[in-house]
């Protein structure tokens, strides 16, 4: 058995186990930390798929950015007691039925479809090619994504400053 095979099974096990723990854990802080392990496992799967730049981006943006934001959200929206971190679970039977159905149908479709696999040459690193694509074919989506991020930043800042100004008036 090759090393790649062992690593694939190890990291997919880590990803799926952490994701399952995240979904079924009662404590939301435990869920956030399980989400971190799931995201790191996904980054390792990207490395196994020769997407080195995307793996680094995943680690920087998700683990370094979004996860910290989520933890801030958890801390700021609870009243400071640990029992308030616990979350309510509803619709357990219909939700598990629906998601199990979705999983079974997707896996059935993925396994039975005859994918046209073409073996590409193993790229040494993808950063150069991705950069050329980003400045060439994908220049318009690149600029639009920049504008989107600017709008998101302005919107988030506007909402949170409005919040703190309101607080000060109230006090």
């Amino acid at each position: 058995m090759e090393l790649t095979t062992i690593l694939f099974y190890l990291f997919s096990l880590i990803t799926l186990g952490a994701a399952a723990f995240m979904v079924f854990s009662k404590n939301i802080v435990h869920s956030a930390f399980a989400l971190m392990f799931a995201l790191i496992g996904v980054a390792a799967l990207y490395v196994l798929l020769y997407a080195d730049f995307l793996a680094a981006t995943q680690l920087l943006v998700y683990v370094g950015g979004i996860l910290i934001l989520i933890l801030f959200g958890v801390m700021l929206t609870s009243l400071g007691y640990t029992f308030n971190f616990k979350t309510v679970t509803v619709n357990l039977a219909p939700a598990s039925l629906l998601s199990a159905t979705a999983a079974v149908l997707l896996i059935f479709a993925f396994v039975t479809t005859d994918w046209k696999i073409s073996e590409i040459a193993e790229p040494t690193d993808t950063v150069y090619d991705l950069g050329m694509l980003l400045m060439g074919d994908y220049i318009l989506p690149f600029i639009v994504a920049g504008v989107l991020l600017l709008i998101a930043i302005i919107g988030a800042i506007l909402m949170s400053t409005h919040l703190s100004a309101e607080n000060r008036e109230g006090v």
Binding site: A19, I28, A32, L35, I70, T87, K116, A145, L148, S160
Partner: protein, 111 residues
């Protein structure tokens, strides 16, 4: 010969990655549907986006999609970052107004 067959079965191909992403997707759907904490729902959405990304990159590795798939995955990550920032700002505003982030309790359109 049998050993060769066993190796070809067990070696991770396109289908293996797709199955992993399918299970990840269903776990994300489970989180979105069954949890009533807004932040848990956001985490489920992140799982769903990640499973879509695994699909894109697996297709970029194994089919003719090549680097275009990685490019799409890059834009998905960008949009996920913007979504998380704005959604958490909204959640903080909702918490400030209603003093709860249970989705069933937030039923007013006009605060």
């Amino acid at each position: 010969m049998e050993l060769l067959l066993a190796q070809s079965v067990i070696e991770p191909g396109l289908t293996h990655f797709l199955v992993v992403s399918a299970i990840l997707f269903s776990l994300g759907v489970m989180a979105v549907l069954s949890r009533r904490n807004t932040i848990m729902v956001l985490m489920g959405v992140e799982l769903i986006l990640n499973s879509a990304n695994i699909n894109f990159i697996a297709f970029s590795r194994f089919t003719e999609l090549s680097l275009d798939g990685q490019m799409i995955a890059l834009f998905v990550i960008i949009i996920a970052a913007a979504e998380a920032a704005v959604a958490l700002a909204i959640v903080l505003n909702v918490y400030n107004r209603f003093k709860t982030i249970n989705l069933d309790d937030i039923s007013l359109l006009k605060g």
